[in-house]
Subunit: 375 residues, 2 copies
C-alpha cells in the first residue's frame, strides 16, 4: 500500500532532476508536481501508486527554491533511504487533518503548475483548490527525458525482452487442444514471474475468433485443434522496466484457409517496419512501412490499430508509432513494432517485438522466431 | 491491459445509475464522468484501470439525455457483454486520431462536470481543454452511494473477511526465526490467492523495529526469536470486494519488556472501538473510543494514525474513522477498526478487523483471536 524502493544512484537522480528543471523552465511553468507512479520512479527510483493521502515531489523551476518531497508522516519511512540531503530535496511530512495540498504549494512562485499525467483527479483538483489555478500536464515535459533511454535503461529493457522470450519459448508446453484460454494463461503468468518479472502484468491468450479482438484478454473458451492463437504477454522486471511481446501460434494446421497467406504478409509487414527504424525517420513512416505491405496484400482494413507504442517504466508511453506522429526517431528510443491482422469472427494474428533505435539503425530486444509456430 | 468483466445484474446497475443521477442533480452538476476503476466497477461491474486511451461512462443529470459509454473501438469487445441497451446507455467508440474527450462531452448541457476521484490528470485536463472548464470531484456524489453496502456487497465483504482469516490461521506455519520478512510474505501472498482472493494486494510483515513503522511493507530482515511481528494483509476477491486484516504475532516470548502491558491496552482499545459502533454514532467518536483507552494507559502518543478506513471495492474509502469526521454511522457502512501501538526503534503492534454497522449495532467480518499470538 505504500511506496516501495528500487535502486537508482544519486548521480542519475541529480541529472534527471536537473534536466527536469531545465525542461520545465523552457515550458514556462512555476513547478512540476509528480505523484507516485512511473514519473516518480524515473526521477527517484521509488515505485508505488497514488492513494488518498498525498505523496508528491514538487520541483520548482526557480533554482533558488529547493525541490520538496511531501509525504504522509506515516509513509515517510518508505522514502527514508533516498539521498534527499545530497539532492537538496526538502522533506515536508504531514499528518491526517493537515492540508497536504497547501503544504505542497507553499513557497512556490506564481505561474502554471505542471502535474504528472497519472496524478488522480482527487489530488489535481485539491491542488487547484489550494491555489494552483492554472494547471497543465507534465507529460510533454517528462517525455522529453524519459523517451530517450540511457545505457542502464536499455540494458534493463534488453533483459526484459530476454525474460519474456524465455516465456514464449515455453508456451508450446501449455497451449494444447482441450485446455481453456484461462488455463493456458495461468501457466504463462506463473512462468512470467519464474523467468524474472516482478509480476505478470498482462496475459492475452486469444484463440480462434477471440484472436480477432486485439485487446481480448482471456476467456473460458476451449482451444481446438486448428485454432490460431495470439499470445501477447509482459510485465515489469523488479527494476520497473517492462517486457511486451506477441507471438502467434497454430494448434496444428490452421483450419481457416486464409491464414497462411495473410500471416506471410503480416510477417513481411513487421519486418518492413523494423527495417525502417533508424535515427531521423519519423514515427509515422515506421507505421506506414508496415501498413503499406499489408495494403499490397489487400489486408489494409484488417490492421485496425497503430503499429506500436513506446515502452520503458510504462508499458505504453511515448513515442507512439502511429499515423500523424511526425516525431523523428533518435538513438535510445524504445518501442514496440506490432502489426496485426484481424478477421472478425474467425481468427487473428499479431507479431510484436520491442526494438531500440541505435546510432546505426535498430536493435531487437525480442528474438524468438517470427514464423507462425505450428504446435 | 483492458477492462475485465465481473457480474452485476441489470436491476442493480439500473438502480445505481438512477441514484447516481439523483445525487448528481442535487449536487448541481451537468454530468458525472467515470473512468475505469472502482467507481465504474460499482456502476457497471467492470474492472480494469485507466490507460492513455479514454474509456469513460458519462452520466448526464438531464434525464432527456442518455448516459454515454465512450470506448476505444479496439477495447469495446471487453464491454460488449454489458446490457447497455437495457440500461439505455449509448455507445460511442473512437479510433486513434479522433478526439475522444470531445466525443465524451458532445451533447451535454452547460454546467460543472464531476469527475471520478481516480481519473488521471491526463484525461481530466483533456476534458477541460475539450470544453469542460468547470470541474469538480465526483467522490462526494459517489460516496453517498458506495458508503452504504447492500446485502450482496455485505456478503462479499463477509466472504473476504473469512478468506483472509483463513490466511491468518496459517501464518504460524511460516513465521519462524531465521526466515526473512520477505520469505514469510511470499508464503502469505501465495496463501492469499489459494484462499480465494484474485490477488495479494498487500502483505506487510513488520518484525521487531520494522513493526514500529505502520506502513512498512517487507524487508530482508531476518526474524529473531523474541520478535513481535505485525502481519497486515489483504486483497480483492474476484468480485472486487477487499479484505484487510491485521494480527500481531510474537515469535516466542517477546524480548521487549513493555509488550505485554501495552498489548493488553491495545486489545482493550480495539474492543472499545468495536463496541462503540452502532447507527447514529459519529465516526470520530469511534476513533475517540480507541484513543481514550490508550490515553488511559499513557500510550496516546504511541497511536499515530486514524482508527480506521472504509472498505469495499477500494481498500481505503469512506467513511474514515478519524478525529474531525462527524459523519453519523448508518447500517451498511463497513470499515476497519485498527488501532496500533508503535515504539520507535523497538517494536509495534496493531489489531485490525473489518466491521459492518448493522441495524442493531455491529458485525465483525474478522473473527480470529485478538490475543497476542505467541508462536
Amino acid at each position: 500500500m505504500g511506496v516501495s524502493a528500487a535502486v537508482l544512484d544519486v548521480t542519475t537522480m541529480r541529472d534527471r532532476l536537473g534536466r527536469l528543471r531545465d525542461r520545465a523552465a523552457e515550458a514556462g511553468v512555476a513547478a512540476v508536481v509528480i505523484t507516485p507512479g512511473s514519473d516518480l520512479r524515473y526521477l527517484l527510483g521509488v515505485g508505488g501508486s497514488s492513494f488518498e493521502r498525498l505523496t508528491a515531489l514538487v520541483v520548482p523551476t526557480d533554482r533558488a527554491l529547493a525541490p520538496v518531497l511531501v509525504s504522509p508522516a506515516l509513509e515517510f519511512a518508505g522514502l527514508g533511504h533516498l539521498p534527499l540531503d545530497d539532492l537538496g530535496v526538502e522533506v515536508r511530512t504531514w499528518v491526517d487533518g493537515e492540508d497536504a495540498h497547501a503544504l505542497a504549494l507553499a513557497g512556490l512562485g506564481a505561474g502554471p503548475l505542471a502535474v504528472s499525467d497519472m496524478t488522480p483527479a482527487l489530488h489535481l483538483l485539491q491542488l487547484r483548490d489550494a491555489g494552483a489555478a492554472e494547471q497543465r500536464l507534465a507529460g510533454p515535459i517528462l517525455r522529453e527525458l524519459r523517451m530517450r533511454k540511457d545505457v542502464v535503461e536499455l540494458s534493463q529493457l534488453r533483459a526484459a525482452g530476454a525474460a519474456i522470450d524465455r516465456v514464449h519459448a515455453r508456451v508450446a508446453q501449455w497451449l494444447r487442444p482441450g485446455r481453456t484460454e484461462a488455463q493456458v494463461a495461468a501457466d504463462i503468468a506463473a512462468a512470467i514471474v519464474e523467468e524474472g518479472h516482478a509480476a505478470a502484468d498482462f496475459v492475452i491468450v486469444g484463440s480462434g475468433p477471440n484472436g480477432a479482438s486485439p485487446h481480448h484478454s482471456v476467456s473460458d473458451r476451449v482451444i481446438e485443434r486448428g485454432d490460431v492463437v495470439v499470445v501477447d504477454i509482459g510485465g515489469p522486471l523488479p527494476s520497473g522496466y517492462n517486457s511486451d511481446s506477441t507471438r502467434t501460434y497454430a494448434v496444428g494446421s490452421p483450419h481457416e484457409p486464409d491464414v497462411a497467406g495473410a500471416y506471410a504478409a503480416l510477417q513481411a509487414a513487421q519486418q518492413a517496419a523494423v527495417d525502417a527504424v533508424r535515427p531521423g525517420v519519423t514515427c509515422e513512416s515506421v507505421d506506414a512501412a508496415a501498413r503499406s505491405v499489408l495494403a499490397d496484400a489487400e489486408l489494409a482494413d484488417r490492421f485496425i490499430h497503430r503499429t506500436g507504442h513506446g515502452i520503458g517504466l510504462d508499458v505504453h508511453e511515448e513515442p507512439y508509432i502511429v499515423t500523424g506522429n511526425d516525431l523523428p526517431l533518435e538513438a535510445g528510443m524504445t518501442f514496440s513494432i506490432e502489426p496485426g491482422v484481424y478477421v472478425r469472427g474467425r481468427w487473428g494474428a499479431r507479431i510484436e517485438d520491442i526494438v531500440a533505435v541505435t546510432p546505426e539503425g535498430v536493435e531487437r530486444f525480442n528474438t524468438r522466431p517470427h514464423d507462425l509456430a505450428i504446435l
